[in-house]
Structure formats: C-alpha cells, structure tokens
C-alpha cells in the first residue's frame, strides 16, 4: 500500500495534475476570505466594466491633492487619448494629404502629433472622404487640442435662483491624490459581467459549485456503474443479461440527448445544482458499468476467487474482498474521469440553458451561458468568458493528467 502511494507520487504526470488541482482548490478557498461578499451582488449599474481598480471620482475630487510635476505626464495623457484606431485614422489622413507613407510611424506618438499639427487643415477635402469621416477628424483634432491645452479644470456649483456659477474647486493637470485617501475604491480584477457582478468573485463561487456538481455526479455515476458492473460480471447469467440490456439501452441513446431531455423535463424552478448533478450522474454510468463488468469477468475465473469459493465464502464477501480490491485502482481512475466529464457536461447543459436555475448560485456553465447571451464574445468582453473557459479547461486538464499518471502506475506496460 505504502509502495503504491510512493509510486503514485513519483509519477510526474499525476503530481503535475494534482498540483494544478490543489492550486485551483486553494484559490477557491482563499479568495473568498480575502474578498468577502455575495458573488451575485450587482455592484455595477453598467454591464461589462473592464477589469481594473475603480476609484470613485466624487471622492477623488474631494480629497486633498498634492502637486507633482512628472516629466512624461503630458505624453502619457496623450497616449491614453490616442487609441490604435485613432492613430490608424490619422495615418490615413496624412497619407491622403500627401505625406509619404514610410515617414509615418504610428507607434511614435510625438512624431505623429508633430506631423498631424503640421498638415491638418479642416478646410481640406481629400478625395473620396465622406462628410462623416471629415467630422470625425474634426472631433479628433478638437480632443487633441484640448489635450494640449494645459489650463485647469474648474468645478463649479450652480446657484438655483440666479443661475450663476460659483467656483468651488479647481483641478490642475499637476494634481495628484493618494489612492488611500479615496474613500471608495473597488478592485475588479476580472471586471464585471452583464449583471454588473464581480466576475472574479462569481468565478470562484461558480468553480466551487461546478466541482461539487462534478463530485456528486461522478460519485453517483461510479457507484451505479460499479454496482451494476460487479453484479453483471460476477453473478452472470440472467442478471448479467438484464443489466447489460439496460446498459445497452442507455448506451444506444446518445447520453447527451438523454441529459437534455431529462433536464428539459424538470421545471426550471426545481432545477438546483444538486438536481443537475443527479441528472448527470444517472445518465453517465454506462461505460463504467461496462468496463467494470469486463474486468470482473476476467477476475472471476482467477484462482484466488476459486480458492475463496472453496473456503466457503459467500457472494458478498467474495465481491468485497476478492474482486473489489483488485479493481479499486481502476475504479478510482474511472471516478476521476467521471468527475471531469460531469463538469464538462454541466457546462454544456448550462450553455444550452438547461443548467441549474440562474438566481441561486452561479456555475461555470451558467457564466458561459450569460456571457454568450449578452454577446460578450462579439464585443470583446473577454473577461466575462475567457477566465471561465480557462478554469473549466484547467480543472479538466488536471483531472485527466492525474488519471493518466495513475494509469501508468497501475498498468506497468504503459510506463515509458
């Protein structure tokens, strides 16, 4: 026994898979401790906010600024203003108005701006350029000019009666405030989703639920498959025929379609995570049953089973002591694979909108579903679906890696 554990933990593949899984689990347990709160809470009133640190502008203005003069502050400000599209558009104008193409380097902000200043003239009408396009350039030029204008921003209050503006505060371009002085700062490492909920928090909670679903579904599938396989293989005869009939029945109906039909049949309100896990477990036991049966078939004529019979042992004892330990390693491997497939099955089901109900707790599949429904993928809101995908892939990958590692330990012929 000790030797087996030694071998397992010397299999590089198993250790790699195990480490990945452990790191994921560690994140799942530690993250809520650092950032507590309800993962479903809609903190954002706008959907799909980008990942980053959000600072309350209101509080920022209220805080006491320190004046700093940083040498590259203006350039940075400009760089932030100029998106890649803007730069490309500027190049287009410059080329259209006769600047040679090889002189323009859109990554060189200073050079580009200099060229722009020299050659932009709103009265010019380059050939083939629409009015809308020209207006766009006008706006672009205006915003650039604004950026070059180093005057201060004045914040004023409006007198209700007279309509006069009273200067309250001025903000100069050299004002800086300490983030610690700002009362309201929100950390959103993965932004918000369509509901305005924190994706990171939701992801951690969802991964936990998905792993739970995987565990429950995998255990149910393995348990059913193991019981059927053992009975069919060892008892044989009519029991075998009956069990194999049911197994074949489940095998010929495509499992996923069965899963969809059952899920569809259950009311959305009653479809909690546990029910989905149960449904997945009940539909995916067939191949475990088949492979356990074939293992048992080859075991039941082995001499040690015969010896056990000759020692007067009954059916239950023979199955428990002479058959089960021999296939235990195999069953563990099957269980790991079942967990992995169950997590994937949940994701698939939820993508189709047949997953657990949406109001209670998030799952990885549901997050994908929402991201898809709100077209996150077409708008480039990558943070709403890519981390979810990565989590599903990593969990599956680590489980499969563990399975391969175990396979190599238990089947020495596969060892390299």
């Amino acid at each position: 026994m000790k030797n087996i554990f030694y071998q397992i933990f010397h299999s590089q593949k198993f250790v790699a898979g195990f480490s990945i899984l452990m790191i994921i689990l560690l994140i799942l347990f530690i993250y809520p401790l650092i950032f507590p709160g309800d993962p479903l809470q809609m903190i954002g009133l706008s959907s799909f906010s980008k990942p980053g640190i959000y600072v309350s502008v209101y509080d920022a203005i209220d805080s006491e600024p320190s004046t700093m003069k940083l040498p590259d502050a203006d350039v940075k400000r400009l760089m932030k203003k100029l998106s890649n599209e803007d730069r490309l558009a500027m190049k287009e104008w410059l080329v259209a108005t006769g600047t040679p193409e090889d002189v323009i380097d859109i990554l060189d902000t200073d050079g580009l701006l200099k060229l722009w200043k020299d050659s932009y003239d709103p009265s010019l009408k380059p050939e083939g350029m629409t009015l809308a396009k020209r207006n766009y350039y006008k706006r672009l030029n205006a915003s650039l000019e604004k950026a070059f204008d180093y005057s201060r921003i004045i914040i004023a209050t409006k007198d209700e009666e007279t309509g006069e503006l009273n200067e309250e505060k001025t903000v100069s371009s050299n004002d800086y405030i300490n983030i610690n002085d700002v009362a309201n700062v929100v950390y959103l490492p993965l932004g918000t989703d369509n509901f305005g909920a924190d994706v990171a928090k939701k992801l951690v909670s969802a991964a936990k639920t998905s792993i739970m679903i995987g565990l429950i579904a995998g255990s149910i599938a393995t348990f059913i498959g193991l019981t059927f396989g053992l009975l069919a293989g060892y008892v044989g005869g009519i029991v075998d025929d009956f069990i194999m009939f049911i197994t074949n029945l489940f095998t010929v109906i495509p499992g996923f379609i069965l899963l969809i039909l059952i899920s569809y049949g259950i009311d959305q309100d009653k479809r909690g995570a546990a029910v989905v896990a149960l449904v997945i477990g009940v539909t995916s036991w067939t191949w475990t049953a088949r492979s356990v049966r074939s293992q048992v078939l080859s075991l039941r004529n082995r001499d040690h089973v015969n010896l056990s019979k000759l020692s007067g042992h009954g059916l239950a004892r023979i199955i428990l002591t002479d058959i089960l330990p021999y296939i235990a390693s195999y069953v563990v491997m099957a269980l790991i694979l079942q967990i992995s497939t169950a997590i994937l099955a949940e994701a698939q089901l939820s993508m189709l909108g047949l997953g657990p109900k949406t109001t209670e707790r998030p799952t990885l599949g549901l997050m994908m579903n929402w991201a898809m429904l709100y077209s996150a993928h077409t708008h480039g809101y990558w943070w709403a679906y890519f981390p979810v995908l990565l989590f599903i892939a990593l969990i599956s990958f680590s489980l499969n890696l563990m399975n391969t590692g175990l396979d190599q330990v238990f089947n020495p012929t596969l060892r390299d």
């Binding site: 015969n306 010896l307 020692s311 007067g312 002591t321 330990p325």
Partner: protein
Amino acid sequence: MSSNKTHHGPVCLSGRGVTKVYGFGSRKTVAVDHVDFDFYEGEIVSIVGESGSGKTTLAKMLLGLTSVTEGQIYYQGKPRDIRTRKKKKEYWTNVQAIFQDPFSSFNVFSKIDTVLLDCINMRGGRHLPRDKKIELMTEACSFVNLKFEELTNKYPFELSGGQMQRLMIARIFLLKPKVLLADEPTSMIDACSRATILDMLMNLRKETGMTIIFITHDIGLAYYVSDSVYIMEQGKIVEYGSADEVILNPKTYNTKRLISDVPKIYEVWDLSTV
C-alpha cells in the same frame, strides 16, 4: 515412492458420462466428452493430457466450480448434490484443491493469517479460543517447513513461489479433506522445489489417507507419483489403468505419442517421430 496397490478401497469419487459443453449453436465446443471414471479412496490418480485436452475443465467440475452439462458425478457412492450453498460448503470441506499458479492463487490483499483462519473456521473451529487457533496454524506451518511467527501480518506476495505453494499445502493440512485435486501444483515452480512439494503432499496423504487427484501435463511426474493414470485427449479419456501398465505398456496411439514426446535419459529419445 508409492506402492502399486492391486486391491482398491471403496470408490470415493466417480463419474458417468460427465460432459461439459461451452457455448451453443455453431460456437459449441465440447470440453469434456462423456467421461467415465472411478477414483478410489486413498489412491493417487493422475489425469494426464496436453493443454486443451479438457483436464482442467474436468477438475473444475469435480470441484463444483463449474456446472456439469450432462452426466453425473458421484461422491462416496451417492449422486453429488451441491445445489445449495450449505451443501456446497459441506462438499468443499471434503473436496479441496491446490492450483497451478501460486502467485495468482492467493488474494494479494488478504494477510496469510486470514487465509489460514478461514480454513480453521471452515472445519468448525470458529469458536475455538485464540491460543488454540494459533497453535493449529503453527502446527500447519511447521508441517510445510514454514515458521508461522514469520508469516503473521505478512501478505502472500512477500513469499517465493515455492513458499506460497507450501502455504497452500498448509491450508490443506488444516482442512484435512477426503479428496485433494492438485492442478499442476509443481509446474510453475522451480524444479528444485518440486521435490519438496511432492514430498509434503505424500506425507500429508500418509497422515490423512486422502485421495489425491493430480492434474498434469507432465507424464513423467504422473508416472512418478501415481497409482493409476488417466490419459485425456480432446475431452475424452483414451486410456487408463495402473501407472506401470499405462506408462510402460501404452496401448493407444495417443499415450504412445505423449510418452515419446518427452525427453528421456535412460533410453534414446527418438526425434524422428513428430
């Protein structure tokens, strides 16, 4: 080693028209084909045949591990009845076996103590005090030149093949059955340990007077140990009789061929007849 008895004891195990058929329809194979035999009490019988001759299937039927398709096996003159679990258990206290491959005959997950304790329980020693049980197990182990103290809490796979096969004999020593089926008990172990195993089996027979049925492909071994020999070929018994009769004066072609295929050391081994 064994005496050539001319007089027999009462019949212990016999069979009439015993047949085993696997599969059905076009895939039907007759493994054992209408076989008659009489094994006498206290006798050593060998069933000799090549692989695929049906000898192992016959052994399994004799043990009650597979059903008999046709015919009847008689135990102590009466038709054998092992339909219920209780009757089966009773039959197995009297008919026991040693298997060919010692490495696969033991459950690698049960300790050696468990294996031996099961035998004591089976002989009705379940309620014996602990000391008595240990005394019995020690006695059995010392009979096969093993030390019980060294075996407790060990697993069978920690022993060598020869030791395992000896442990198997210790099991038989505890069970003291009337009939012992030895299915190639020495073919998987070293030639040097073979003599030890055979010696122990002979001693055990002397002590208990049990019938030993050797299933073997080694006609030399059969000749060496047994009183009478049954030659099997393609599911049928082609020749039987006392060992000297069958081996030294083979009558059928099959027996002659079996004997001529084995290398000799006293006579010239004729290689031309293949």
